[in-house]
């Protein structure tokens, strides 16, 4: 066959030729050992890929995927109008029986952190309970209340100075909030909560909670959320530094 191309061979290997072309290619392959070997190899690759990754199909789907919500963004309003509520309902219904308290708690971290940010960041006179001038006391006090040794990241090189911190009620006990401020008065907060001991997830995740951007992660017993009313990339730069200092 004079007009046989490599594309034909791939399409043959992948079962994507119509009958006429397939017969033509087969006729050609009868005389072309090298092409036959290529086809065999490509098929073998595909078979091996499916053998390797097909087991994923049978794994239980993680709760967080079943409970995925529309990510807010420029599309969010349209999506809501277009019936995202219905979608959320559907996902919620499907995931209902798999839901666990632990999962709900994990999903609540960025939300709680964003609310705490929204409440205290605009505060002019009393943004914190204990100021940065008493940093040692602040850290000891909050560490004691949370029952865990807390560390306060140093963000001066990023332009953020510690304002201070406060104790807040969380879902399952006390929560610490550290506040930072840059030269323009822009504030960010680090929200630290104590987790269930068995929850060990270190993925670094992002959530947009209305106007507040939140990067959050869990390290052992502590859940961290860095919140700020700024764009994702700017906050990411700071969050990376925080993450690095807290997870050396």
């Amino acid at each position: 066959m004079s007009n046989l191309t490599e594309t034909d061979l791939h399409a043959y290997a992948d079962g994507q030729l119509d009958d006429v072309r397939r017969v033509q290619v087969e006729a050609h392959l009868a005389h072309d050992a090298a092409a036959t070997e290529s086809v065999r190899l490509w098929r073998e690759q595909s078979v091996a890929l499916r053998a390797l990754y097909n087991p994923v199909l049978n794994e239980p789907v993680p709760q967080r995927l079943l409970a995925a919500r529309p990510s807010p963004g420029r599309w969010a309003y349209y999506a809501l109008a277009a019936g995202a509520m219905g979608l959320a309902f559907g996902l919620g219904w499907l995931s209902h029986s798999y839901r666990t308290d632990r999962f709900v708690e994990a999903a609540a971290l960025p939300r709680r952190a964003a609310v705490a940010y929204a409440v205290y960041a605009p505060e002019v006179r009393h943004p914190v309970e204990v100021g940065a001038d008493q940093q040692d006391h602040l850290v000891k006090w909050l560490s004691k209340r949370l029952g865990n040794e807390l560390k306060v990241p140093l963000l001066t090189p990023q332009g953020f100075d510690l304002v201070g911190g406060r104790l807040l009620p969380g879902g399952k006990g006390p929560v610490a909030q550290f506040m930072y401020q840059d030269a323009r008065g822009q504030r960010i907060t680090l929200y630290v909560s104590v987790r269930d001991a068995e929850l060990r997830e270190t993925a670094f995740r992002f959530s947009q909670e209305d106007k507040v951007a939140v990067f959050y992660w869990i390290d052992g017993k502590l859940g961290y959320a860095l919140s700020g009313e700024m764009d994702r990339a700017s906050l990411l730069a700071v969050a990376t530094v925080v993450y690095r200092q807290l997870n050396p």
């Binding site: 990754y53 919500r69 996902l91």
Partner: protein, 164 residues
């Protein structure tokens, strides 16, 4: 219900993400971001068109964005690499295949997986990735050849590490 349709695709999205991203944490992050984006943009999906191909398109965009962001987040990479565990029960050769996939350029890996693993038609791959049919074929061809070369040890692994 439409969302139930999306849910039905989760296992296959996870399979593709695992092959694409390697690490299972990162793969599920990729799936989650894809689902969140898909739910937010669901009104853009045209009824009757292929939902799965549309989801692959979204995952492709999310993945590329994550790769770009990860350059700023080298530490995260190191942490997650530390968490990576090889599937113990798989034969050595299959684990080699996973390692070999990491050494394919992303654009070749995507095409190779959509064709070989997900068994999409070339036209669907072209649409999902937003590239011409000819580009699908050239990436497929180069991807298969490179995978063969890496698996047979004729390519130096260190030079080809894509995700940095």
């Amino acid at each position: 219900m439409e969302s139930a349709e999306i849910v039905a695709h989760i296992p296959r999205l996870r399979r593709y993400a695992r092959a694409l991203a390697g690490d299972s944490h990162r793969a599920d992050d990729l799936v989650q971001d894809t689902l969140e984006r898909a739910l937010a943009k669901f009104y853009l999906w045209r009824h009757g068109s292929d939902l799965r191909a549309w989801l692959f398109t979204i995952m492709h965009n999310v993945f590329i964005n994550q790769l770009r962001a990860r350059r700023e987040l080298a530490l995260d990479e190191a942490v997650e690499d530390g968490l990576r565990s090889a599937p113990q029960s798989d034969p050595l050769e299959l684990r080699d295949l996973d390692a070999a996939l990491r050494r394919l350029p992303v654009e070749q890996r995507e095409v190779l997986l959509l064709v070989g693993l997900e068994q999409l038609s070339y036209a669907e791959v072209s649409k999902a990735l937003g590239i011409p049919a000819g580009t699908v074929m050239s990436r497929l061809s180069r991807g298969r050849e490179r995978l063969r070369a890496v698996m047979s040890g004729t390519v130096a692994a260190t030079n080809l590490k894509v995700v940095k």
